[in-house]
Structures are given as C-alpha cells and as structure tokens.
C-alpha cells in the first residue's frame, strides 16, 4: 500500500504541475505534452521514457489495488460475525473511513479520464485533436456533469491522501513520538494543494479563463 501509494502520489504531483501549463495558453500546454514524449532525446528514442513511466504506473495501480483487496478480504475473515450495534468511530478522521469506497471511485474516475484525455474516446474532439483542444472541449460548460464528476473524484483523491499520506509513513515505520501532528498537517496540506491544483484547470475552462 505505502510504496505503491507513494509512486502514485509522486505521479500526481507531477501531473498537477503539468496541467497548470494550461493557464499559459495552448502552445505551452501542447509543448509540454510533446516534451513528455521527447523526454531524454536524442539519447532515448521517441516516447520510450513516457512508456516506461506509464508501465510503472499501471504496475503501481494494480499492486495497490491488489493490496487493498487482500486487506479487505483479511478484514472480512477476521470478523465473520458483525456487531449488532452500529460501531461508532472513536478516532477522529472521516477520511480514514472512505479509503475503500473512495479508492473505487478514484479507479472509475481514472478509467473515464484516460478515455477522455488520453484516448479521446469519450471526448467531443476525439483522439486526433491537440491535447489542449481536447482539454477545452472536455470541460465545456455544456458538459457540466463531466466537470462535476472531476470535482467529486478530486475531493475523493484529497480525502484518500489526507489519510493515506501519513498512513504510509506509519506503515513504513517512519512515524513516531511527536511527529504525528506535523505528519498529519503535512498530509492535509499536500492533499489540499493537489485538489486545488487539479481543480483549477477544469474550473478555469468552465468559467472561460482557459479557452
């Protein structure tokens, strides 16, 4: 969970920063998309590094899901008889209790997102358009429901990381003593930055700042 989660967090940070290029216009954004494919050239052939990163991400997502499913199965086996009284959470932390279903929502989102922005299958402009045009068309105000789904999914990502980030330190044995306050505050801050950073672009398109 922790190691694969960390890989995904690093990806998210990079991805968010890249998205913000949309605020600098079509050229900046399309150049960035092109740069992703020419990374390392001429030493490395076209699209090789990007493909390596894509494979690493798929592996991380699959292992992350596999760990999540095995944890959930072990939990079910460890408590075959449920409590009659509703178990009241005694620890603070709403985010903690959204990890499993939140993760499923994120997965559905990732699938939609790839069909939308990467393959163009559910995008009005389709695969042949520029990345920037796909972006602007995807979040057109008439497709408000898509934008809404993005907002919900990003809030789930924020909640997921609000727990997940400090939880990963704990899992790896790197937390201790007085570090919890700082770790939890740091997790909350990074989650917030990611949510705001990711939502800036769709909202920017919707209100016409990006067009």
């Amino acid at each position: 969970m922790a190691v694969t989660g960390a890989v995904l967090v690093l990806f998210l940070l990079g991805h968010m920063v890249g998205n913000l290029k949309a605020f600098f216009g079509a050229d900046a954004f399309n150049h960035y998309a092109e740069w992703l494919r020419t990374m390392g050239s001429p030493a490395v052939p076209y699209r090789v590094l990007l493909t390596v990163v894509e494979i690493a991400l798929v592996v991380a997502v699959v292992l992350h899901m596999w760990s999540a499913v095995s944890l959930a199965r072990r939990a079910a086996q460890a408590r075959p008889v449920k409590y009659a009284a509703k178990r009241k959470s005694q620890a603070n932390g709403y985010a903690t209790h959204t990890m499993r279903y939140g993760g499923v929502i994120i997965l559905l989102f990732v699938i939609w997102h790839l069909l939308d922005m990467t393959f163009g299958a559910v995008n009005p402009k389709g695969f042949d358009a520029d990345p920037y045009d796909r972006l602007v068309a995807g979040f057109d105000p008439s497709r408000w429901w898509v934008t809404l789904f993005y907002v919900v999914a990003m809030i789930m990502v924020g909640l997921h990381l609000r727990h997940g980030l400090w939880s990963a330190f704990q899992t790896l044995g790197l937390a201790g003593g007085r570090s919890y306050g700082k770790l939890k505050a740091g997790a909350a801050l990074v989650s917030l930055v990611l949510v705001v950073g990711f939502l800036a672009v769709p909202v920017g398109v919707m209100i016409g700042v990006i067009k």
Partner: protein, 248 residues
C-alpha cells in the same frame, strides 16, 4: 432515591457451536454508583432467582488491571468512556430509560466461549512467539547496573501497561491485533535487555499475529481511541520498523 431503569440487549450464546442471539432484559433501580459489572450482577441475581441461566462475562480484578472484562457496549469496546475498562465504567454515565447493547469482542481469532466470554488464547500464542527476553536466571541484578535513558524508560513503561484486554482488536474495523502486539514489541524493544532478540522478536510475533487470523492494520487509530491504557499509535510504527528491518 430510586435508581435508573434500563433496557439491556445482551448477546446470549450457550456455547461455541450455538448460533447465539440478542436477548432483551429490563433492569430496575440501578444506582449511578454501581459499576457496569455490578449492574450485570444485579441482572444475574435476578436471573438465578428465576431459575434462568445467568449472563456469562469474564472479570477478575474489577479494578482495571487484569484485562478480563471486555465487552462491546453500544458499539464501543469497554463503552464510550475513554481510557476505562468495563469494570471501571460507572452507571452514572448512563441515564434512566437508556437502551444498552452488550456484545462480546467480535473476531475470528477470539471465539465466543459463552455469552460475552471470548477465548483470547491467540494473544498468549503471540506472546509465546517472542514476547520475552532470554536471560540466564539467577538472583535479581542490582537495579542500577544497566542504565536506561529516562525517555526510553517512560515509553517502555507506557507500552508495558497493556493489559491484553483485546479491546484494540474488537474496535478495529480490520480486526487487527497490531496495537497489542506492538505494545509488547515496544515494551521490550526499548530496553537494553530486549536488544539481542529485538529483530527476531518482531518478526516472530508479527508472523504469529497473522497466523492467528487477525486482520491487517490500515492505521485507522480506532484501537488507541478505545484502549483502556491509551497505548499510543507510534508503537505500531516501531513494530513496523523492527519488522521491516528483520525482513531485510
């Protein structure tokens, strides 16, 4: 002064193979000064006089140190009062007319023996796997012969206050025994006497914990919140660190 009248919904199960069910009882005239167990004693006296089977529950010290008296009260292990065992929970925290649900710890590795009594031998086997230090026994050494840092002594002592009650398992949404196991690993791992077997202890105890069928920890923190001794979550980080080091 007349006391409180309560409605209890209690888990009744004749034995390990019985299916079990919730049964409703009324208890009248409960004094706010009674402990929760004394309130159950009142119910049981009445059941015995009526020729019924009393509700079986575990208890021994009734002063919060033996860890026997675990039960889930209204969905919370040892009841909602923080840092309190069931025997130290007083009826003044309830009010007249309350309905109280009482259930045993629910975990596959803690099978129900009867009613509210569960078998916590799984914890003993975790201790047997590594919760000890091997020393040549002899007369007790001089108290000051091995110096221990004050912070280490304090943290080890805090971890050592775990009474093995099992509330952490009962409260964990994953049914994990990590807090208990981590408390024991921390207690020994912080002291000089615990160093020689530190890595093998963590490995053996964690493996035994998994073998018993407890769930995996996802750091929900529910365990610490209900722990009558307030064992902190950083014991689990320490256990993970020792375990990872030992697995390398």
């Amino acid at each position: 002064m007349s006391g409180m009248n309560l409605t209890l919904k209690v888990w009744r199960q004749n034995g390990p193979s019985d299916e079990g069910r919730m049964v409703t009882y009324k208890v009248e005239d409960v004094s706010p000064d009674m402990s929760f167990l004394e309130m159950l004693d009142v119910l049981n006296e009445r059941l015995i006089l009526a020729g019924d089977d009393p509700v079986a529950f575990d208890h021994d010290c009734r002063e919060g140190i033996c860890g026997m008296c675990g039960m889930v009260i209204n969905g919370v292990a040892h009841g909602e009062q923080r840092a309190t065992t069931t025997c130290q929970l007083h009826m003044r925290h309830f009010k007249d007319g309350d309905e109280i649900t009482i259930e045993p710890w629910r975990a596959a590795p803690f099978p129900v023996v009867k009613d509210l009594v569960v078998d916590r031998a799984a914890f003993d086997r975790i201790i047997q796997a590594g919760g000890f230090i091997s020393v040549p026994a002899g007369s007790a050494p001089d108290a000051h012969s091995v110096p221990v840092k004050k912070e280490d002594a304090d943290a080890a002592f805090d971890a050592a206050t775990c009474i093995g009650c099992g509330a952490c398992v009962a409260a964990c949404p994953n049914g994990s025994a990590s807090l208990f196991t981590a408390a024991k690993i921390t207690h020994l791992g912080l002291l000089p006497q615990g160093q020689p077997e530190r890595d093998s202890r963590a490995k053996a105890m964690v493996e035994q914990m998994d073998l018993e069928g407890f769930g995996g920890c996802t750091n929900t923190g529910e365990c610490t919140a209900v722990c009558p001794k307030g064992i902190p979550l950083d014991t689990i980080a320490r256990m993970n660190a020792d375990y990872l080091k030992a697995s390398k």
